[in-house]
Structure formats: C-alpha cells, structure tokens
C-alpha cells in the first residue's frame, strides 16, 4: 500500500553563494545541499521546512512557519539569558 511521502523536518542552516541552500534534515541534522531555486520563495537561513527526499532528490518541500517561530522563541530566550550573564569579571 502506498504510504505517501515520508516527511521530515529540516532547517535551512545557510545559503551559499546565492545558489545553494544547506539543509540540516531530521533529528540527526543530516546535511543536504539543494539548489536555492528548489525552495519556496522567501525561505532564508533559519527557516524550518517539511521536506521529502527521494534518495538525494528533494521531491517535496513546505514551509513550517510554526516550527520556525517556535525555534526562534527558544533561541531568543536563551540568548537573553546569556546577555544577562554578560562578561566574566576581569581578574585584574
């Protein structure tokens, strides 16, 4: 029975040379490099996606705005904690 596409979460780690997008796919952050043109318009570094790979070919992709917002909120909160911590006192 056809189980349909196997969707995985991915995040755009970086855009390289205006041509490539480096995706970190799944919980093991497997690196997949795809043509930027294969991604939906407006995708940028830090965008979360739902992707379906057929081998190394990106067969389907959707933006995941909810996951993007959730990750951004976690990160901001942790960075704020660090900013409050600040620099180490100068021992001198």
């Amino acid at each position: 029975m056809d189980q349909g596409p196997r969707w995985e979460q991915a995040v755009v780690d970086r855009l390289v040379d205006g041509r490539w997008a480096v995706l970190l796919v799944g919980s093991d952050e497997r690196e997949q490099v795809v043509e930027l043109a294969c991604l939906p318009p407006g995708v940028e570094a830090g965008s979360w996606l739902k992707v379906h790979f057929d081998g190394h070919r990106l067969a389907a992709v959707q933006r995941d705005e909810e996951a993007t917002a959730e990750a951004a909120a976690h990160i901001r909160q942790k960075l704020e904690q660090l900013r409050r911590r600040g620099r180490r006192p100068d021992p001198s």
Binding site: D13, L24, G46, T68, K78, R83, R87, R88
Partner: protein, 294 residues
C-alpha cells in the same frame, strides 16, 4: 604600522630538535619546515589554521592566551583531538564568528570538555539545533558571554584584539564577527563569512585592517575578498579553509586570480592540511602539514 615580510625556511633554533622528532615520526615536511610543536613557545604566537574539512577553526596559542576562532563542522568529531594534540587544556576566548553549522559545529563539545573563560558571538539569532545545543552548553558552563561590536578592543595576554565588525543593527547572518589580532608588529585578520558589502563597511570605519596574514572570507568564495579589501589589508600571505572537492567549488577561481594579480601567495587547508604560522612579533614562518598533491 610597517608591514613585516615573513621569513620562510628559517626556523628558530628551539624548533630544530622538534623538527628532527617530527622527521623521525614520519611527518611530511614542506618548504623545509613541516609542523613544529604547536604548544606555546616563549615569546611566540602560534596560529594554526586547522584542517577541519569544509568548515573553519583557527587556534591561537601564546604565553598567557589561548584562543579558538570557530569550531569546525557539526557532522565531524575532529576538533577536540586536534586541540588535545596541540596541548590545549583551556581556552581564554572562544570566538564564534557566526552561527552556521560549519563554523560552530563542535562548539558544544568544546564547551562541555574544556574550561572556557569567555565566549564571543555576533548575537545573530539562528534557529538550528546545532546553535541551540551551543547555547545550552554555554548556559551550563561558567563562561562569560560577550557580543563585541566594531571598535571594541580586548587584550588577551600578549595579543591585542580589535573588532572590525559587526555594528548595530546586524543586517544578516554574514554580518559577523571580524577581528584583527596583533602580536608585536605582526597582525592576523579573520572575517568569518563576511561578504564584500561587509568588507566595505569595515573599510568605511577607518579602523586599521592591515595584516600580514589574512584568512580569506567564506572559504575563498567569490562573495568575499573584494579587490579593495585585499588592497587595504595588503597581506603577505592569504589562507583559506575549505574541504577538498567541496560542493561549492571553494575557493573560487576569481578570488585566486585576484590574489595572483596582487602577488599574494595563498595556502588552503584542502591542499596543505593544517597550516601553521609562527611569529615572534617581528617576523614569521609558515609551515604546512603536507605538500600539494599531484
């Protein structure tokens, strides 16, 4: 500051016995030099551009200061062995130029293994799990945290560090930490993945950018190392970090041609393996892990 041209093939006497050990151990020697003991030597700064594949990691070792700039790729586990081999037991400063996984990849492991006094980051809020793991490890550590900005300075032992980028507000993830590190009369420059527009912004600040050794931005990509910037830095030698046969064709031919036209020799980790520059603050030598292949 007057540019000090480097001397090659002239190793300090202290290195000669070490060199013999390396010869006996079967290390490849290049230019009659090879890789000396990377641990700090009195009165010297040793800068190692570590071969971490298609990523970045530079280790600076001087008496009173050990610094690491970027931490290699997230999908490799090569950095800690390289640091251990170099005798690193603690870091005074860990600089993460920007939160791409090929620059902060092993930062969490470093932070969970070595005492780190202070971590510097650009402050760009990336959303990857690699970045979140880095923040978690940093929060669990006792390291201080700083987001330096253009014009900030810091002394670390004998090293003087000047921040050239970024300024507020950050425009994008490549608007990253760029720093000039000077030791005596010899200066080194790192620009992370800064692109030509960020290089232009650095020039516009009027801060000194002249450096004897320049690490080419963005692994030697054509997005970086603009001609005006190269002319202003006026390096005696350029270094880039890239993986052999990488997906992006780094370093790009245009950049290599630009360097050739300016008469600037270039060393890449894809060709030479780990590249090490040793300076006494007046002159410098450069050694590489291996010779270029056929």
């Amino acid at each position: 500051m007057d540019a000090v041209r480097g001397r090659r093939r002239r190793l300090p006497v202290a290195f000669l016995s070490l060199l013999m050990v390396l010869v006996l151990a079967g290390c490849t020697l290049v230019d009659g030099a090879g890789l000396p003991d990377p641990q700090p030597l009195a009165g010297h700064l040793v800068v190692s551009y570590l071969d971490v594949g298609q990523g970045d990691a530079s280790l600076l070792q001087a008496e009173g200061c050990t610094m690491l700039i970027d931490t290699g790729r997230h999908d490799r586990q090569d950095l800690l062995p390289l640091l251990q081999q170099a005798g690193v037991t603690a870091l005074d400063v860990l600089v993460l130029t920007h939160p791409h996984a090929d620059h902060i990849g092993q930062a969490a492991r470093v932070l969970r293994t070595l005492p780190v006094a202070e971590v510097w980051m650009s402050g760009w809020e990336h959303t990857t799990a690699t970045f979140e793991r880095t923040l978690d490890a940093l929060l669990d550590s006792e390291a201080g945290y700083w987001e330096p900005r253009t014009g900030d300075t810091h002394r670390c032992g004998p090293l003087f560090i000047q921040i050239l980028n970024p300024s507020e507000p950050l425009t994008d993830i490549h608007d990253n930490l760029a720093l000039r590190v000077s030791f005596g009369q010899v200066a080194f420059l790192w620009t992370g993945d800064a692109e030509t527009r960020h290089e232009e912004a650095m020039l516009a600040t009027g801060l000194p950018v002249v450096a004897q050794v320049l690490q080419l931005g963005h692994h030697g990509s054509r997005t970086s190392s603009g001609e005006r910037f190269l002319q202003a830095v006026d390096p005696s030698v350029a270094v880039y970090s890239a993986g052999r046969d990488n997906d992006y064709g780094h370093p790009h031919r245009e950049v290599m041609e630009r360097l050739e036209a300016l008469g600037i020799p270039v060393y890449g980790t894809d060709v030479y393996g780990t590249i090490r520059v040793i300076t006494d603050g007046r002159s410098w030598t450069i050694e590489t892990e291996r010779e270029p292949g056929p």
